[in-house]
């Protein structure tokens, strides 16, 4: 996935001089995960560069650039370090277009690696998608494969709205997939049915798609037919795809890594109720993180959502 995102950047930097890219260690170093590797060499220090350590400034100056003719793609080094920029995102980036009735646009991408299960120290394992999805005026995108990452990143850079782009760090290098070299894009705001099925709908995104796929193998062995939906975009959420599937299966299991309360899981359950109440044959179920801080490495095995636990909940829901 690192490669695919890097390739998306390469394409956009090459074809559009207004694209610039910056953040902590993204230039010389090429990013702590090497996502921007080689780009400064190729496109120069004016277009791909390191900044001082100040996330509010990275996002705030990015907004200024976006309002004056550029398309900044800014990196925040980790999920846990996006919060110093929270004020700029919620108070400025997300509103500029609305506040000025469209006179100014804010075409910028705010990207960061997110999620746990990499044995990291504190503040390096967070899944803040619900916080960002609750903010009107931004789009929140999470890819689950290298192919999707490239196509969605190209769309994100080309969208005239600001986009939060969350990269599932634990599968940065885990999935090998052939990704076409040429430019292509995947629309923001559309979910994807990864697998059709009839008994239970499983909805997930990002790194947990893989875990779900493993759980689904177990479920199918147990005779349960599962439909798997990859959200791809958290907001604007693709109600149609979600609801069609739930109407078909009548049962839904939502899988994500963040704390479950006030989360994307909650919202999906709300949608299931609003749009498919009469089709529901079992209570929608979320399989998510606890309402705790993500523990350090030794505690992660409890907190993280593994295939076992997903299967356990799929089975319970199917049998309900």
């Amino acid at each position: 996935m690192v490669q695919a995102i890097n390739n998306a950047f390469d394409i956009k930097l090459a074809e559009d001089k207004t694209v610039v890219m910056f953040g902590e260690d993204v230039g010389v170093e090429g990013g702590v995960f090497r996502v921007t590797e080689g780009l400064q060499k190729k496109y120069g220090v004016q277009r791909v560069f390191d900044t001082p350590i100040a996330e509010s400034a990275i996002v705030g100056t990015g907004l200024g650039m976006a309002m004056s003719g550029l398309r900044p793609v800014v990196e925040l080094q980790f999920d846990g370090f996006t919060y110093p920029a929270f004020n700029q995102i919620i108070s400025n980036v997300s509103r500029m277009h609305n506040r000025t009735r469209g006179r100014f646009k804010a075409p910028m991408v705010i990207r960061f690696p997110y999620g746990g299960a990499i044995n990291a120290i504190e503040h390096h394992s967070e899944s803040p998608e619900a916080l960002y999805a609750h903010i009107p005026g931004i789009k929140v995108v999470v890819p689950s494969t290298p192919y999707d990452a490239k196509g969605l990143m190209i769309s994100a850079i080309e969208t005239d709205d600001p986009v939060i782009f969350m990269e599932p760090k634990r599968i940065y290098r885990a999935i090998k997939q052939e990704v076409p070299e040429e430019k292509f894009s995947i629309p923001i705001g559309k979910a994807k049915v990864l697998k059709e099925g009839t008994d239970v709908t499983v909805i997930a995104f990002g790194a947990l798609i893989r875990e779900c796929q493993k759980a689904i193998v177990m479920a199918e062995e147990a005779g349960i037919s599962v439909e798997l939906i990859d959200l791809r975009t958290i907001y604007p959420i693709d109600r149609e795809t979600i609801v069609n599937s739930i109407k078909k299966t009548g049962r839904v299991v939502i899988v994500a890594e963040a704390s479950e309360s006030f989360s994307v899981g909650s919202e999906l359950m709300a949608i299931a109720n609003e749009e498919a109440f009469l089709s529901l044959e079992a209570p929608p179920k979320r399989v998510m993180g606890f309402d705790t801080i993500v523990p350090l490495a030794q505690g992660e095995p409890y907190y993280m959502v593994f295939p076992d636990r997903i299967f356990y909940e799929i089975e319970k829901t199917a049998k309900y």
Binding site: M65, L70, N92, H97, R239
Partner: protein, 362 residues
């Protein structure tokens, strides 16, 4: 370069005329013809008229709130004469006179305080950001624009504004730091009007002045008498040249006094004395410039009539704002995204259903 001559570390203040309008720094007095000076005074007078009327509209219950600029006119009119069409104005929320100079209409400003976002949709102003309420955050936008115009090799300079209180926000420091590192063409202004709502500047910081904060970021800083039109004019002129010459950002502390209330819902008598207010009276920027004009025989003819015509103009604009087309449901939804997402369409449609139910019930 005045930036070298007035070291904020020694707490020097750049000043050209004294409170009596007498030129005390002849060498630095700008060469301005009589008409230009007269026009500057008129702009200050217009701003003051509009400002006072805004306060009274609010008192009449015709406007929700308003932050007066009373006493800060010289800074803004001087800046307005230097800032070019292509330059960027990044206001805080107390820059009415400067926004006018940049082509924002009074009608738009009023519309904003009448509670309509169209008041930030400036029809004729080029490169003017909307006011920014979250204190300090605008400084970062300015630095970003500074990077942007430099990258695009445009001859544009960025002029962000902030208050004395705003210098305490982390964003203030981050913006100065980034601008310095990027050598961005940004002229930062602090309108030090001595108060942040009720909090005096001495409770805001222990630095000897605010200009000195530039030192920590390796950029020039200068403290200027903000009620001295000529000093402000020269400061902005040199700052613009500095930035255009590719020498990076500068910081200007415009030392002034907020003669009015913080906003129309504030009562300064709770936190400052009449004596203090009076002691600042003699520094009033209009009075000082007027005294200078008097001494030079620059005559403002028919001042009463002029003010009367200003009042009529202001009132005309206010009425236009008051009679702006009614706010529509569309206006809530239309601008959240460049294209309205399905979720918003659904919410809007649901609301319309409710409205038609309500209609029927009547």
């Amino acid at each position: 370069m005045i930036f070298n001559d007035f070291n904020p570390l020694e707490d020097k203040t750049f000043r050209i005329i004294d409170n009596e309008g007498k030129v005390i720094d002849k060498a630095r007095m700008p060469e301005l013809d009589q008409e230009t000076i007269l026009n500057a005074y008129k702009s200050m007078l217009f701003a003051r008229t509009a400002d006072q009327m805004a306060v009274s509209y609010q008192r009449q219950g015709r406007m929700y709130t308003y932050p007066p600029i009373l006493g800060q006119e010289a800074i803004q009119v001087a800046a307005g004469m230097i800032i070019r069409e292509q330059d960027w104005l990044v206001p805080a929320f107390r820059e009415m006179a400067l926004m006018l100079a940049k082509g924002v209409s009074l009608k738009e400003i009023f519309l904003y305080y009448l509670g309509n976002e169209e008041g930030s949709n400036f029809a004729k102003a080029n490169h003017v950001l909307p006011i920014c309420v979250p204190i300090g955050s605008q400084y970062l936008h300015a630095t970003g624009i500074g990077y942007s115009v430099k990258y695009q090799q445009k001859d544009e300079v960025v002029f962000p504004f902030i208050g004395d209180g705003g210098t305490s926000e982390g964003d203030f420091s981050e913006a100065l730091n980034f601008a310095a590192v990027w050598e961005a063409p940004v002229v930062f202004t602090i309108q030090n009007n001595q108060y942040a709502i009720s909090v005096p500047v001495k409770s805001q910081t222990r630095s000897i002045n605010l200009a000195v904060k530039a030192v920590g970021f390796g950029m020039p800083g200068i403290k200027v008498d903000g009620n001295d039109f000529f000093a402000m004019y020269v400061a902005y002129k040199e700052a613009l040249e500095h930035a255009r010459a590719g020498k990076g950002p500068v910081l200007i502390e415009a030392y002034t006094y907020r003669k009015g209330a913080h906003t129309t819902s504030d009562d300064p008598s709770k936190y400052r004395t009449r004596e203090e207010e009076k002691s600042w009276e003699k520094t009033d920027p209009l009075a000082r410039l007027k005294k200078y004009m008097d001494s030079q025989g620059i005559v403002l003819e028919n001042e009463e009539e002029l003010i009367q015509s200003y009042k009529e103009e202001v009132d005309k604009q206010f009425l236009e704002a008051e009679n702006f087309r009614p706010y529509d449901l569309e206006d809530v939804f239309n601008y959240m995204y460049v294209e309205m997402p399905d979720d918003l369409k659904r919410q809007k449609a649901n609301y319309e259903q409710y409205l038609s139910w309500k209609e029927k019930r009547k």
